[in-house]
C-alpha cells in the first residue's frame, strides 16, 4: 500500500537516519512511501507550552500537507499523539475540523502501524546484540502501545531483549520541560540511565527521537558507550540474516 511518512522535525534535523530506516523498512515490506516535502513541525512544542493559536496554525498546515488519503506513519509516539489526540480538539471550531479528525483516524506510530495495521511482528530484520527497550510516555499512555515494540524486537534475529527496571518511567525529556527545568529533567534522567547501564545492554531502543536525545545526552555525559537506537533502525537492519 501507499503510506505517507511524517518524519518529525527532531528526526529531520538531528536523527535523519530514523527517517531513512523507516523508509527502508516500509519499502522492504513492499509499501510505497510518500514524503510530502512541505512538512515541517506538528506544532506540539507550542501546544505544550500553552500557545494554542500558534499550535493550531501549525496543526492546520500539517492537516493540509497530509491531505492525501494514504495512512500517515510517524516514527514518534509523541508526534502521533499530537495528531491523534490533540489536533481534533485544537481545530474543531475552524474549517480544518473534519480533515483533522480524518487525519487523526489514519495516523499511526510506526510500531503500532506494523503490528496492528499490517499484522507483522517479524519484519525480516537481523541485528546482533543485547538491547533494552524504553517505553516512551506518549506512546505507552496516550496510544496504549506497550507490547508491539517488544514483539517486533523479539522477531529480530540476533536480538536479545533485556528489560530494565521500570522501563515505563519517564526519561525526563518532556520537550521544552528539558530546558525550562534542566535540573529536574536531568535528575529524572539519572535513575533511567542507571537502570539502562545495569542491564548490560549494547543499545537502548525507544520510539521517539526526543527520548533518545535525552538518553544519549545522559549516557554520553557518563562516558557510557551504550548506543541509543530508534526501533526503526533495528528493524531496518539485516546485519545477521
Amino acid at each position: 500500500m501507499e503510506v505517507q511518512l511524517l518524519v518529525t522535525c527532531l528526526a529531520d534535523q538531528l536523527a535523519p537516519e530514523v527517517g531513512e530506516a523507516t523508509v527502508d523498512l516500509l519499502e522492504r515490506l513492499g509499501h510505497r512511501v510518500r514524503f510530502p516535502e512541505a512538512q515541517t513541525c506538528c506544532g506540539q512544542p507550542a501546544f505544550n507550552d500553552g500557545f494554542s493559536a500558534e499550535a493550531a496554525a501549525l496543526a492546520a498546515r500539517t492537516v493540509e500537507i497530509f491531505s492525501a488519503p494514504a495512512p500517515v506513519v510517524v516514527p514518534s509516539g509523541s508526534c502521533a499523539t499530537m495528531i491523534r489526540h490533540f489536533y481534533p480538539g485544537l481545530l474543531e471550531r475552524g474549517p480544518h475540523g473534519p480533515a483533522a479528525r480524518a487525519l487523526a483516524a489514519r495516523t499511526f506510530e510506526l510500531s503500532e502501524f506494523l503490528v496492528r495495521v499490517l499484522g507483522r511482528t517479524d519484519v525480516g530484520a537481523g541485528w546482533s546484540g543485547r538491547v533494552t527497550y524504553h517505553d516512551s510516555c506518549h506512546l505507552l499512555r496516550e496510544l496504549g502501545v506497550r507490547d508491539e515494540p517488544r514483539r517486533l524486537l523479539a522477531g529480530v534475529a540476533g536480538v536479545e531483549l533485556v528489560e530494565m527496571a521500570y522501563p515505563e518511567h519517564c526519561c525526563g525529556f518532556g520537550g521544552a520541560f528539558a530546558v525550562k527545568f534542566p535540573e529536574v529533567s536531568s535528575a529524572i534522567l539519572d535513575p533511567k540511565v542507571e537502570s539502562i547501564i545495569a542491564t548490560g545492554a549494547d543499545a537502548v531502543v525507544a520510539n521517539d527521537t526526543g527520548c533518545l536525545l535525552q538518553l544519549a545526552g545522559g549516557l554520553r555525559r557518563r562516558g557510557s558507550t551504550i548506543r541509543t537506537l530508534h526501533l526503526a533502525e533495528i528493524l531496518a537492519s539485516q546485519a545477521s540474516r
Binding site: A15, T40, G50, E54, R141, G174, P182, A187, P191, R221
Partner: protein
C-alpha cells in the same frame, strides 16, 4: 493563612533536584507504595470497572453538590452535630477558634488533615494561645521539625529514620541513634498524655454521606479515632468536595483509597461518625462540629474543564507515580497540595498569578492519570492551565520569541528548510567551542546534565532528495 511559596517553585525545585539524599528517601517510599499499589490492583477483580464506578460516584456528587450539601447539613444536624460554613481559610480558622473559646479548650489533638494544612490551622490556634498537637506520627514528626508535610499521605517522606532520630534527640531529649521502635514508643508516650489532656480533637474527613450525614475518617494509627472520640469536642474539617450522595457510595471509595494510597486492601481504622455521644453511650465527644470549607473550590466547580479535579480522594498515588515529584519532593511546590494534583488545584485555589510555574513543571508523561483511582485526566488539565496561563501571564520575551518565531519558520517549508544549514553550522560551532552554548540559554540549560546532540550532516529532507535523484548510494 499557611505559608504559600508557589512563586518560589523554580528555585526550590532546582535545589531539590540536586539533593541526592532526598531522592533516595523519596524513591524508597514512593516506589514501595507504587509497587504495592500495582500488586493490589492486579489482584482486584474488575479494577478498571471499579475505578469507573468510583469516578461516577464522585461525578454525581460534584454535579449535585448544590442539593447534597444542604441535605448533609440537615442530616448531620438531625444527628446532633453542628454544621459551620467557611468561605475561606480565615473563616474556617475563626470558626475553630470560636468553638475552642466557647468550650474553654487550651489543648487540641489533631488527626491528619490536609485541609488543616491548607488553611494553616495550627498557626491560628497557636496565635490564640491554644496548643495544637499533631498525633499522626508523620505529622507529629514534621510538626516537631517545624516543617509542612511534604506528601499528602506520607508527611515525613523527606526524612530518614536517622533524620527523625536526630530530631527526637534535639527536641525531645531521646537518646542518640534510637531504633524505629524506640522512636515510635517515645512519640506514643508523649501523645498519650496529650490525648488525655486535650479538650478538643480536630480531624479531617475522607468522605461524607448526604443521605445519612455520616462522616468517614480513614487512617492507620488509631490516632484519628482517638482524636474523634476521647476529647469533649470533635471538630471535623471538610472540603465541600468530599461529599458522596449515599452511604452505599462509601464502599467503592473505601475499596480504592487505601489501595491507591499505601497499597493496603483496607486501612487499619475506618471510623464512621454519626454524631456526638448519645445518652445510652459511655464514650464519644459531647459535641461534634463539621466545618465545610469552600476556599476556592466553588471556582473549580464553576469551571467545566477543571471541575474533575474535585473528584480527587487525596490518596497521593499521583505523587508517588510522578517523575518530577520523586526528584523534588513536596516542599518545592510551596503549597499543602504538591505533585500532579497540587499543580492542578493550586492555580484554581490560589489564582494563576500566584502559580505561574507549577502546570509547566511536568513532562506530561501521564503516569499520574494511570494510577488515579478516579481517573482524573491530570495531563489534560495541566495543558489547559498552560494555555490559560500563557494567555494571562506574560511569558519571558525569549520564550515568546522562540515559540512565535518557530511558528513562522515552521509555517513556511522554504524558511524551515533554509534553517537547516544554520542549525548545522551552529551545532558544529558549539561542538568545537562548547563555551558558545552559554550564548543560547536552551543549549546551556540542556548541557547542565547532558551532552548536546549534534545536528546531522544532512537532514532527512536533504537525504530524501538525494534518494529521489539517485545521488544516494544507499538508495535502491
Amino acid at each position: 493563612m499557611a505559608a504559600i511559596a508557589t512563586r518560589d517553585f523554580r528555585a526550590r525545585a532546582a535545589a531539590a533536584a540536586g539533593d541526592t539524599a532526598l531522592h533516595r528517601k523519596l524513591d524508597a517510599a514512593s516506589l514501595r507504595f507504587l509497587d504495592k499499589r500495582a500488586r493490589v490492583f492486579a489482584a482486584l477483580p474488575d479494577a478498571d470497572a471499579r475505578r469507573d464506578r468510583a469516578r461516577a460516584v464522585k461525578a454525581h456528587a460534584i454535579a449535585t453538590l448544590d442539593t447534597l450539601l444542604p441535605e448533609l447539613e440537615r442530616r448531620f444536624t438531625a444527628n446532633g452535630g453542628i454544621v459551620h460554613w467557611a468561605r475561606d481559610g480565615a473563616a474556617a480558622c475563626a470558626i475553630v477558634l470560636d468553638i475552642a473559646a466557647r468550650a474553654g479548650v487550651r489543648l487540641v489533638v489533631k488527626g491528619k488533615s490536609m485541609v488543616s494544612e491548607e488553611i494553616g490551622l495550627n498557626a491560628c490556634l497557636e496565635a490564640a494561645g491554644i496548643e495544637a498537637v499533631e498525633t499522626d506520627l508523620g505529622e507529629y514528626i514534621v510538626q516537631l521539625a517545624g516543617e509542612p508535610p511534604s506528601h499528602i499521605i506520607t508527611p515525613a517522606i523527606h526524612l530518614s529514620q536517622d533524620d527523625v532520630a536526630a530530631l527526637f534527640t534535639a527536641r525531645l531529649g531521646e537518646p542518640l541513634h534510637s531504633t524505629a521502635e524506640a522512636l515510635t514508643a517515645a512519640a506514643r508516650r508523649l501523645l498519650r498524655a496529650k490525648f488525655r489532656a486535650a479538650g478538643m480533637g480536630v480531624t479531617g474527613v475522607n468522605f461524607a454521606s448526604a443521605e445519612s450525614g455520616t462522616l468517614v475518617v480513614v487512617e492507620n494509627e488509631g490516632n484519628g479515632r482517638m482524636a474523634l472520640t476521647l476529647p469533649r469536642v470533635h471538630v471535623a474539617l471538610m472540603g465541600i468536595e468530599k461529599l458522596v450522595a449515599r452511604d452505599e457510595d462509601f464502599a467503592p471509595m473505601l475499596e480504592l483509597l487505601p489501595r491507591s494510597a499505601t497499597g493496603q486492601t483496607l486501612t487499619s481504622y475506618v471510623s464512621l461518625v454519626t454524631g456526638p455521644r448519645r445518652n445510652d453511650e459511655i464514650d464519644g465527644p459531647e459535641a461534634v462540629h463539621l466545618v465545610l470549607l469552600d476556599n476556592g473550590r466553588t471556582r473549580l466547580l464553576a469551571d467545566p474543564i477543571m471541575r474533575e479535579a474535585l473528584y480527587c480522594l487525596r490518596c497521593g498515588a499521583c505523587l508517588n507515580a510522578c517523575p518530577v515529584y520523586r526528584r523534588i519532593g513536596g516542599h518545592a511546590y510551596g503549597y499543602a497540595y504538591s505533585g500532579p494534583i497540587g499543580a492542578v488545584i493550586a492555580p484554581a485555589l490560589l489564582g494563576i498569578e500566584r502559580v505561574p510555574d507549577l502546570p509547566f513543571a511536568s513532562t506530561l508523561c501521564g503516569a499520574c492519570r494511570d494510577v488515579c483511582p478516579v481517573r482524573i485526566d491530570i495531563p489534560r488539565l495541566l495543558l489547559a492551565w498552560r494555555a490559560r496561563i500563557a494567555a494571562a501571564v506574560p511569558r519571558a520575551w525569549g520564550e515568546r520569541l522562540l515559540v512565535r518565531g518557530w511558528r513562522w519558520i515552521a509555517w513556511s517549508p522554504r524558511l524551515y528548510r533554509a534553517l537547516t544549514p544554520i542549525v548545522r553550522a551552529g551545532s558544529a560551532l558549539v561542538a568545537r567551542i562548547p563555551a558558545l552554548a552559554r550564548l543560547a540559554p536552551p543549549l546551556a540549560a540542556w548541557r547542565r546534565g547532558r551532552e548536546l546532540p549534534r545536528a546531522a550532516p544532512r537532514s532527512f529532507h536533504e537525504r530524501w532528495r538525494d534518494r529521489r535523484h539517485g545521488t544516494d548510494p544507499d538508495a535502491p
